[in-house]
């Protein structure tokens, strides 16, 4: 083992996995995997979509049990853990999918299942002590909301902070974070990484799963790489770097991001234009923005700056409270998403499982759904037309699945995202809006999606990409619009691109 | 207005009570000093009827004539009403309560009359099947018992009675199923007012009209039509019109202090009648006249 930090190497492992194997019908999610976790160690766990990271964490969290193999916690060997068993041995878990109760307040969520009780047999919640216990936790994660706030009123990022506070609240010995930063941009991510360091200082181990490799580089003591359910390799502190991780993950080096697109492009005509549009969340802040044909317009901003809201208005999900939309110079009235789709305005939404795809339908059925009449003769669906369209998208996008009849719910996150893209690419987009298109997507698939966006732009489509990933915004966009509290605070052209400028605009200041 | 109100509370929504409504109407014409009303509980259940009467008492009703949903076991509830207003019973009696009097007919006697019809129509004996809404209801039990008593010692037998929970689709299907299950049945009895028409229609659909003796109760238009046609042997009719008409007048007199109308046993029996082919026209005409049509 290549431990750089000898003090950690010397300690006995808190937890070890040996030869763990987990299969789902038709899929080997984990195949003879072994690893160990020592006290005070931060392990970065990386791997492509579907490599088995979440499966591994679900086994540690007691949500599923492995087919074979042993899990040793504190010297005791188990065939599998239960949720209570896992919690009991000090394993705290922030799931990839959020697990909060919208109808309860923040405090109730953080200490859910471990409420301080008042004396007496009735098991009444001691509400004042609960509040006392929550306050320092919220402070630690840098929350900008109160302990009494209903979770339903928080943004996705704020909810993620609640999840992290919850993990901290357990006197944990191991904290597992499954893509905690996937919806955390900029400042919040830094805060989280600080929290991880503080945990380490307290002797608590952390397993940190992320597709943002630079974050892993910053905090990990050791990186474990998964590939196809197997251990592809382990990197010690000194060996952790972007290229090494990528090589282990996908088995080859990734070419440098093509700089070809650097060449100045003649901007196309304006495709979608917003004139003084007011979104329901920021009704007092009119937005002016135009997306041109043949460009990728990046939309950056802090958490809750109103980008998703704007996208929802562009896609006809929410009505605007004022202003006008224009498509190719003609006024556009959108009563529903159907109207937008009819005009060739498509949205790849931020919340894939809730709004992006139907998990119970097959890949083919998902892809044909927005354009079903075209796959039908006399209103009757033609299965062969459906399959043909889906096969094409599967091939073009490299969707990894046994067949196009596979249930979408069994695919890994990245492949699900490709299905969402596929359903729009099968039609003729004029304007393509992508809200956090690479959220939770591995580096290989990311590159493919960037390529796809570029190809779309080259074909004359207006692409609007909302992203909280700074590298992505700067690397992919032709222009960057930045939002601040519901308004466009500035637009940067390629020669003005810099992290600093985006950040300044995002907090409402002028760029240099 | 300050006129005292008298209420006639029935045991559930049914066409049977339409005649009583006519009786109440006629009595109203003769009792201008009173407000007369007829009340249907929204469901045929003890709790709901009890509540309706409680509310009527609250609303200041001076006298109530009730066809209790379950008189035998509602003694306390009825007594509570009787302590606050003049309570009369009709349709089925509650002799153990403090009700002033009962006006109505005897279901047992009605059952016996049904037996008479059957005996007359089938001198050589036969096998009868009965159909009824609620097997457990008192009026059903008494009619069935009366008929069985009446048939005792003859070669006619009431072999089974099928219930339908007042679902007319089931009532008709029950007859259809009975025709299949018991081909040897020679007579059918409809104990509730809608049962006889359903028997009539099922027999007509099966082409068995006239081959099976039908004994009816009450005076549904289809039943009377069948009687006239000769396909229903005869029907036993009660006279809810008379109960209501006489009852309301009696109650009004009683409230004025005139107790002469109440006989010694506190029972005023208005006998049921057998309506056969010969009486049916006169009876139907009379019905029409009473309803004021």
């Amino acid at each position: 083992m290549n431990y750089s930090d000898t003090s950690i190497a010397a300690t006995t492992p808190f937890l070890s996995l040996e030869n763990v194997r987990k299969t789902y019908p038709g899929v080997v999610a984990l195949d003879g995997f072994s690893m160990e976790v020592r006290p005070g160690e931060v392990i970065g766990l990386v791997g492509e979509n579907g490599a088995g990271k979440s499966t591994l964490m679900k086994i540690l969290g007691g949500v599923t049990t492995p087919d074979t193999g042993t899990i040793t916690v504190d010297g005791t060997a188990h065939k599998g853990l239960s949720v209570e068993g896992s919690l009991g041995s000090g394993i705290a878990f922030v799931h990839q999918e959020l697990n909060l109760f919208e109808n309860l307040d923040v405090a109730a969520n953080i200490f859910f299942g471990r409420e301080p009780l008042r004396a007496g047999p009735l098991k009444l919640v001691d509400r004042s002590r609960l509040r006392e216990m929550v306050a320092p936790l919220l402070k630690r994660v840098g929350a900008n909301f109160s302990a009494d706030a209903q979770v339903a009123s928080l943004s996705l990022a704020q909810q993620q902070m609640v999840e992290i506070a919850k993990a901290l609240s357990i006197k944990a010995r191991l904290v597992i974070l499954d893509e905690p930063t996937s919806s955390l941009p900029l400042a919040e991510t830094d805060k989280l990484l600080d929290v991880i360091k503080a945990l380490k200082a307290d002797g608590i181990s952390v397993i940190f799963i992320s597709h943002r490799l630079h974050e892993v580089e910053r905090v990990a003591d050791r990186v474990v790489v998964l590939r196809d359910g197997m251990l592809a390799g382990t990197l010690g502190k000194r060996d952790i770097n972007h290229d090494q991780m990528v090589k282990l993950m996908i088995g080859r080096m990734l070419k440098e991001r093509e700089k070809a697109s650097e060449a100045a492009r003649a901007p196309g005509a304006t495709a979608l234009a917003a004139k003084a549009i007011r979104t329901p969340t920021y009704p007092g802040r009119p937005v002016d923005l135009d997306v041109r044909r043949g460009e990728i317009l990046g939309l950056a901003g802090l958490v809750g700056s109103g980008r998703t809201e704007l996208a929802r208005v562009f896609f006809g999900i929410d009505g605007s409270l004022g202003g006008t939309l224009e498509l190719d110079g003609k006024t556009l009235v959108l009563g529903s998403a159907a109207d937008a789709v009819a005009q060739g305005i498509f949205l790849v939404p931020e919340d894939r499982k809730l709004t992006g795809i139907l998990l119970d339908l097959s890949i083919a059925q998902n892809i044909s759904l927005p354009n079903l009449p075209a796959h039908a003769r006399r209103s009757l669906v033609s299965a062969s037309a459906e399959t043909a369209t889906a096969e094409k998208q599967k091939k073009d996008l490299g969707i990894k699945a046994p067949s196009v009849q596979t249930r979408t719910g069994t695919l890994s996150g990245g492949n699900q995202q490709k299905v969402v893209l596929g359903k729009w690419l099968a039609m003729n987009p004029k304007v393509m809006i992508l809200d956090e298109p690479t959220r939770g997507i591995d580096i290989g698939a990311k590159a493919e999606i960037y390529g796809l966006m570029r190809a779309l732009a080259d074909a004359g489509v207006a692409v609007l990409m909302i992203s909280s990933d700074m590298e992505e915004v700067i690397g992919v966009s032709d222009r960057i619009a930045v939002m601040h509290e519901g308004q466009i605070s500035g637009i940067l052209d390629k020669d003005q691109f810099s992290q600093e400028n985006v950040l300044l605009l995002a907090v409402g200041k002028q760029p240099k | 207005d300050d006129k005292p109100t008298l209420a006639f509370v029935v045991n559930g929504a049914s066409d049977f009570w339409k005649a009583a409504e006519a009786g109440v109407k006629k009595a109203q014409g003769e009792l201008p000093d009173y407000n007369l009303e007829l009340k249907y509980p929204e469901q045929s259940s003890v709790a709901i009827q009890q509540r309706l009467m409680d509310d009527l008492v609250t609303a200041g009703v001076k006298g109530i004539m009730v066809s209790a949903v379950d008189p035998k076991t509602s003694t306390d509830g009825l007594n509570k009403i009787a302590s606050q207003t003049a309570l009369f019973t009709t349709d089925s009696d509650a002799p153990q309560t403090k009700r002033v009097a009962y006006i109505g007919s005897s279901n047992v006697d009605a059952g016996k009359q049904a037996a008479e019809i059957a005996k007359k129509a089938m001198p050589n004996g036969g096998k009868c099947l009965g159909f009824v809404g609620l097997l457990g209801a008192d009026n059903a039990k008494e009619r069935i018992q009366g008929m069985k008593d009446g048939l005792a010692g003859t070669k006619i037998e009431l072999v089974d009675v099928r219930g339908d929970d007042i679902d007319q689709a089931r009532a008709k299907k029950n007859v259809e199923d009975a025709l299949v299950a018991s081909p040897d049945v020679t007579c059918m009895v409809g104990f509730y007012s809608y049962n006889t028409p359903r028997i009539y229609e099922a027999l007509r659909d099966a082409g068995k009209l006239g081959q099976i003796t039908v004994v009816g109760f009450d005076d549904d238009p289809i039943t009377l039509g069948g009687v006239k046609e000769g396909t229903v042997a005869a029907t036993v009719v009660q006279q809810p019109f008379e109960w209501a008409y006489q009852g309301m007048k009696l109650m009004a007199a009683y409230l004025k202090g005139d107790k002469s109308g109440i006989p010694a046993g506190n029972l005023i029996i208005i006998p049921t009648k057998i309506i056969g082919k010969d009486d049916v026209d006169a009876y139907a005409a009379n019905l029409k006249a009473m309803a004021g049509k």
Partner: protein, 331 residues
């Protein structure tokens, strides 16, 4: 035909065989005709319900609508003496309007289907009772409508026309539900309405259409029921028919969460329920146990189906594990 449907069919045949052995008169053509008549009536009702259930909704007012529209139909032709085809069209239109109002309240005003249709259950029966002043709507003796009676209560080649109507409706609705674009939308909405909306489907209209279909089919069966009983006491007519319809759908493999179920399933569910009712009468079981038998069979049916699903999933899992383990060394 799915495995689920096949299982139900086998159950129906087994029960039928047992009843036929105990009482061979079960198989008499007249009995089969009588029962298939009721299958027709309840089947039409249940198909309507199924269209609503597939969207994740529920229609509890079915029984009250049967009472209200049946009362109006008889009143129109027997008392007001409208031509029956006109009355027929009016009633169907009323059914569509009721469906439209329910759909509108549910999709536009975002009320819960259970609440809307529960209120409908209470209101429509009340209106029907008020309309007849708690009396009965029925034909006078000898009032006849030969064509209407033939179409609704008559028989062709010994088969009740109501059953033939059910078959025709079932075939059309099978195509609509399982082959058409509209049917696919219904399933999609039942599975995940949000995602369907984000795919550009006008979910509001589709759901509304489902309630209208339910309203129309309910109106149609209301006419059939009216012509079957030929007399309606609004206080009790059609009571609990919504439960029959829901039970048929559930037995037929529909999930009340939406997005699951087949048209053949709901028909088979109806057949089983009517077979049970017939059985109670033919075997001389006390009528009081009628509902209990129905409840018991539904429970057992759903339980077996569920446990069978669990068993199959488990076996699949074990198979997968075995295959994968076996295959491992060869890799």
């Amino acid at each position: 035909m799915s495995k689920k449907d096949l299982g139900l069919l086998i159950l129906i045949l087994v029960v039928g065989a047992i009843v036929a052995i105990i009482n061979p008169r079960f198989l008499l053509p007249i009995n089969l005709a009588n029962t298939s008549n009721l299958i027709g009536l309840f089947g039409i009702l249940s198909i309507g319900q199924a269209f609503v259930i597939i969207t994740g909704g529920i229609e509890l007012s079915v029984g009250s609508v049967v009472a209200l529209l049946g009362t109006l139909f008889i009143d129109f032709i027997a008392v007001r003496e409208l031509d029956w085809p006109l009355a027929f069209v009016l009633i169907i239109a009323l059914g569509a309007i009721i469906g439209l109002v329910h759909g509108w309240l549910i999709t536009r005003l975002k009320l819960q289907p259970f609440v809307v249709t529960l209120c409908g259950l209470l209101i429509y029966r009340g209106v029907a009772r008020f309309y007849t002043a708690d009396g009965t709507a029925g034909f006078a003796f000898g009032q006849n409508f030969p064509e209407l009676e033939f179409l609704t209560a008559g028989r062709s080649w010994g088969v009740p026309n109501s059953f033939i109507a059910l078959i025709v409706i079932a075939i059309v609705m099978w195509v609509v539900l399982h082959r058409s674009v509209f049917g696919r939308y219904l399933y999609a909405i039942g599975k995940n309405e949000e995602a369907a909306k984000y795919s550009g489907i006008r979910t509001g209209r589709i759901v509304m259409a489902a309630y209208v279909i339910c309203g129309v089919l309910t109106a149609l069966s209301a006419i059939y029921f009216a012509m079957y009983t030929r007399s309606i006491s609004p206080a009790s007519h059609g009571q609990f028919y919504e439960l029959y319809a829901i039970a048929a759908a559930v037995l037929g493999g529909f999930s009340l969460r939406g997005g699951e179920g087949s048209l053949i399933g709901v028909i088979l569910g109806t057949v089983l329920l009517q077979e049970l009712q017939n059985l109670v009468n033919l075997l001389g079981i006390p009528s009081s146990l009628n509902f209990a038998v129905m409840g018991g069979v539904i429970l057992i049916g759903v339980l077996v189906d569920q446990q069978w699903g669990v068993f199959r999933a488990r076996r699949l899992m074990v198979d997968a594990a075995r295959k994968n383990v076996a295959g491992a060394p060869a890799e």
